[in-house]
C-alpha cells in the first residue's frame, strides 16, 4: 500500500481465490482483465491470443507459456507430460507458428515415485518427437510432501510464425465459417471419469494430441484462415465467446452440427454437463474466409487425425458484438454464454 505502482482491485466478494478463477469462464476472464492485463500492459500482451507474437531480428516469433496441474497425473489417453507438450505446441500453432523449442519447469512433490516421473518423461519425449519440437531448457524444484500434488509442469514454447497474415481474433470477419477439427469434450469427460471414479463400459479416452500438423496444413495450403483457437478450459462455448468479444462480432452455431462422440454425449447427459463447455486437448476451431470454407473442411476431412471435422457455425454479418447464439437441435435459438465458474454435476 502507498507505493506508486497502483494495483487494481480485481475481485470483490470475500477476496479469496476460488477454483472457478482457474476454470476458464467469466471469473478467469475477470482475473486476467482486471488484475494481470492492467499490471503488465503492453502491445504484445494486449492481443490476448494463445501466444504472444512479435518480431525478433530476422524472424517473426510466437511465445507462450502454460502450467499443467491435472489430477490424476495419468488418465486414459495421456498424462500430465503429454498435456504439457501438446498444450504449448497447440497454443503456438493457434498463432500460425511452427513450434520449435520448449522449456519445461517441473514442480515435484516429495515422495513422488521415480517410476511415475519416468513415465511422464517418456510421454514428453514421445509427444515432443511427434510434434517436431525440441526440449531445450528446464528446471526442477521439489516441494515438501503435501505442498504439491505429485507433478506440476510449466511449459513455455517458441515457434516461428509461418502465417503470412496475422492469425488472431481481430481478423475474424462477417461471413467467416467456423470449423471444429473433431468431436468435442473428450478430455474433460475422460479426466472427470477417473478423478471421480465414474465407470463406463469402455473408458473414454482423452483427445490429448498436437494439432499443429492439421492447423499448419491449412495455412500452408494458402487458405485464408483468420483465426485459430484450441478449446481447452471452458470448451468450445467459452472459446467462441472469447473470440466474439475480441472480434466484436456475433457467432451463430448449429448445435446439431457439433460433433460429439456417443460416449461423451452419454456421460454428459448423466452428469448434467453440456459438452460444449467441456475441455478438449486435441481439437481446434478455425475461422475461415467463406470462399475457402469448403476447401478447408475437405483438407481436414481427408486427414486421419481430423477426419470428423465439421462446420459448426458462421460469423453473422449483422449482429450483436460479443454474442454467441445456438440454433438448438429442437429448432429453437438461444444464447450460448460464458459460464460463471466450473460446470458442477447436478442433483437430479
Amino acid at each position: 500500500m502507498g507505493g506508486e505502482l497502483a494495483c487494481p482491485v480485481p475481485l470483490p466478494a470475500g477476496g479469496r481465490i476460488l477454483l472457478a478463477h482457474g476454470g476458464g469462464g467469466r471469473m478467469t476472464r475477470d482475473l486476467v482483465e482486471r488484475l494481470f492485463v492492467p499490471a503488465f500492459r503492453n502491445d504484445v500482451l494486449a492481443a490476448l491470443h494463445d501466444s504472444a507474437v512479435f518480431d525478433a531480428p530476422g524472424a517473426r516469433l510466437a511465445f507462450t507459456t502454460d502450467s499443467f496441474v491435472v489430477r490424476p497425473t495419468f488418465f486414459p489417453g495421456g498424462d500430465v507430460g503429454t498435456l504439457a507438450v501438446c498444450g504449448t505446441v497447440n497454443d503456438l500453432a493457434m498463432s500460425g507458428a511452427r513450434p520449435l523449442f520448449l522449456s519445461l519447469g517441473f514442480i515435484l512433490e516429495e515422495g513422488l515415485a521415480v517410476d511415475d516421473l519416468g513415465r511422464v518423461v517418456a510421454s514428453i519425449q514421445r509427444a515432443a518427437r511427434e510434434a517436431g519440437v525440441a526440449v531445450v531448457a528446464g528446471d526442477t524444484k521439489v516441494v515438501e510432501r503435501g505442498k504439491g500434488d505429485g507433478i506440476y509442469i510449466t511449459s513455455s514454447g517458441i515457434g516461428a510464425v509461418i502465417a503470412r497474415e496475422p492469425v488472431e481474433p481481430g481478423r475474424v470477419r462477417p461471413g467467416d465459417a467456423v470449423l471444429v477439427s473433431g468431436p468435442v469434450g473428450q478430455h474433460g469427460v475422460a479426466v472427470m471419469a477417473v478423478r471421480d471414479g465414474l465407470r463406463f463400459s469402455a473408458p473414454i479416452l482423452s483427445d490429448c494430441a498436437s494439432v499443429a500438423a492439421p492447423a499448419l496444413a491449412l495455412l500452408e495450403a494458402g487458405l485464408d484462415v483468420h483465426c485459430l483457437r484450441d478449446p481447452t478450459r471452458g470448451g468450445v462455448a467459452t472459446v467462441l465467446n472469447e473470440i466474439a468479444t475480441q472480434a466484436g462480432c456475433e457467432i451463430a452455431v448449429h448445435e446439431s452440427a457439433v460433433p460429439v462422440g456417443d460416449d461423451v454425449a452419454g456421460a454428459c447427459e448423466v452428469l448434467g454437463l453440456d459438452p460444449l463447455y467441456v475441455a478438449c486437448e486435441g481439437r481446434f476451431l478455425a475461422f475461415v474466409a467463406p470462399q475457402h470454407a469448403e476447401a478447408a473442411l475437405a483438407l481436414l476431412a481427408a486427414r486421419t487425425d481430423t477426419s470428423r471435422a465439421a462446420r459448426i457455425g458462421t460469423v453473422r454479418a449483422a449482429g450483436t458484438p460479443g454474442l454467441v447464439t445456438l440454433k438448438t437441435v429442437a429448432g429453437g435459438e438461444r444464447v450460448l454464454d460464458l459460464l460463471s465458474g466450473e460446470q458442477l454435476p447436478r442433483i437430479c
Partner: protein, 374 residues
C-alpha cells in the same frame, strides 16, 4: 444419441406445435413443476413454439432453490468444523446462505467434497473412519430413495461417522400451497416425471379432485414437454381434470415400490420451510426415530438462531410462477451468478439461471422472450 435425439428432433417439434395449435381455442396458463423442465423449455425455446395465449409459468421444483437459508448456514457451520468432511452434490456449492457458500467454505480450508451419489459419501466414511462424514441430503422425492439407501447401508455397516443433513422436500404439498394463493393463475400442472417415477401418481388424485386442475406427468425433453402441454390443454379444452402420464416410457402409476419402501423405512413426513415460500405443512422428509442417530442436526447441535432471507430476493414469487426472472428488478444487476441474491440464480435447475444463461442478451430487446405472460 439413441433415446435422446428422437425427443429433440426439430421437425417433429414443429409438427407437435402445429397439432397443439389446432386444439387451442382460448388462453391457458400451465405450470411446469420441475426446474429440469424449466431449463429444457428455456434452453430449447419450447415456450416460443407454443401457440399465442398458451403460457408456461415456472414452478418450485428446484431442490437447490427451495433449501432455506437457515439450513444452508447450518451446513456451512458444520462444514467448517475440524474433522468434518462435508459431501454434497455439485450444484449446492454455489448456493448462497446469509453471507457464504460452500465454495468459500472450501477455499477457507473446509473439507467440502463433491459426490455423485450419497453412497459415495458412505464409502468415504468407511474409508476414512477418523472423519465425520456429513452428506447434504437435498432434493425432492427423486433423491430420497438413494439417500435412504445410504442410511440403510451405513446402519448395516455400523458406521458411526456418517450422517445426513436433510433438506428433503415433497412436491404435492407445494402444489397445494401454490393453488391456495389467491393470486394463483395456474390452470394445469406438468408434474415432474422423475418424482413420479418414484412415487407414482396416486398422491395427485386428491389435488386434482379438490381443485379441478389437470395434472400431466411429463418428461424433460422438448417433445415430452410439447406433448405434455398438448395433453393438459386438451383436458382444459374438454373441461376435464385427470391425472395423465405423458412420460409413460419411465413412469408407472404405482411408481417404484422398492424405492418407496426405502423412503418409508428411513424417513417420516415432516413439516418443512421452503426458501421463498415459507413453511408448508407435511412437505418434507426427516429421518425417523429408528435412524435418528444418522441425523447431522442431532450430532452437531447448533443453537445459532435462524437467519432471515434477503428481502431483495424475489425468489418466492419466481418459484410460485408469479414473477418471471427478468421482471425482477435485481435480475442481472444486483443479482448475477457471480453475486447471487438467491438460489434460483445459481442452481442448474433455477429459473433465474436459465434466463440468465439462455435469454439474457435477448431479454433487452422489446420482443423479449416470455413477455407473452399476462
Amino acid at each position: 444419441m439413441k433415446y435422446l435425439d428422437e425427443y429433440r428432433d426439430g421437425s417433429a417439434a414443429q409438427r407437435y406445435a402445429e397439432n397443439l395449435r389446432a386444439i387451442v381455442t382460448r388462453p391457458w396458463t400451465l405450470m411446469e413443476v420441475c426446474g429440469g423442465q424449466t431449463h429444457s423449455i428455456v434452453r430449447y425455446g419450447v415456450d416460443e413454439m407454443l401457440p399465442p395465449g398458451v403460457t408456461l409459468v415456472h414452478g418450485p421444483g428446484c431442490p437447490v432453490c427451495v433449501t432455506p437459508v437457515a439450513i444452508l448456514d447450518r451446513a456451512f457451520r458444520i462444514a467448517r468444523r475440524p474433522g468434518v468432511t462435508f459431501a454434497s452434490f455439485g450444484d449446492m456449492l454455489r448456493v448462497p446462505g446469509t453471507s457464504d457458500d460452500l465454495l468459500h467454505v472450501r477455499a477457507e480450508g473446509g473439507d467440502v467434497r463433491i459426490v455423485y451419489s450419497p453412497l459415495d459419501a458412505v464409502a468415504i466414511a468407511e474409508r476414512e473412519p477418523e472423519r465425520e462424514v456429513v452428506f447434504f441430503a437435498v432434493g425432492f422425492e427423486t433423491t430420497a430413495p438413494a439417500n435412504a439407501m445410504a442410511v440403510q447401508l451405513a446402519a448395516r455397516r455400523k458406521l458411526r461417522n456418517f450422517s445426513l443433513l436433510t433438506a428433503q422436500v415433497r412436491v404435492p404439498p407445494a402444489l397445494e400451497a401454490i393453488l391456495a394463493e389467491p393470486q394463483c393463475r395456474v390452470q394445469a400442472f406438468l408434474a415432474a416425471g422423475h418424482v413420479c417415477t418414484v412415487m407414482g401418481t396416486a398422491e395427485y388424485l386428491p389435488l386434482v379432485e379438490r381443485h379441478r386442475v389437470p395434472v400431466v406427468v411429463t418428461g424433460f425433453e422438448p417433445l415430452d414437454l410439447l406433448q405434455g402441454v398438448a395433453m393438459a390443454v386438451r383436458q382444459l379444452e374438454e373441461g376435464r381434470s385427470d391425472v395423465e402420464i405423458q412420460y409413460a416410457r419411465v413412469v408407472r402409476p404405482e411408481g417404484n415400490p422398492a424405492a418407496r419402501r426405502a423412503i418409508e423405512d428411513v424417513f417420516e413426513v415432516t413439516d418443512r420451510t421452503w426458501r421463498g415460500l415459507g413453511p408448508i405443512p407435511q412437505s418434507g422428509f426427516g429421518l425417523n426415530a429408528r435412524y435418528a442417530a444418522f441425523d447431522a442436526e442431532r450430532r452437531f447441535p447448533d443453537a445459532t438462531p435462524d437467519a432471515a432471507e434477503d428481502p431483495e430476493c424475489r425468489a418466492g414469487l419466481v418459484l410460485q410462477g408469479r414473477l418471471r426472472p427478468q421482471e425482477c428488478p435485481a435480475f442481472g444487476t444486483r443479482c448475477t451468478p457471480e453475486h447471487p441474491l438467491g438460489a434460483p440464480m445459481v442452481s442448474s435447475e433455477g429459473a433465474c439461471a436459465a434466463y440468465w444463461l439462455y435469454r439474457r442478451r435477448r431479454a433487452a430487446a422489446p420482443a423479449a422472450a416470455g413477455a407473452g405472460a399476462t
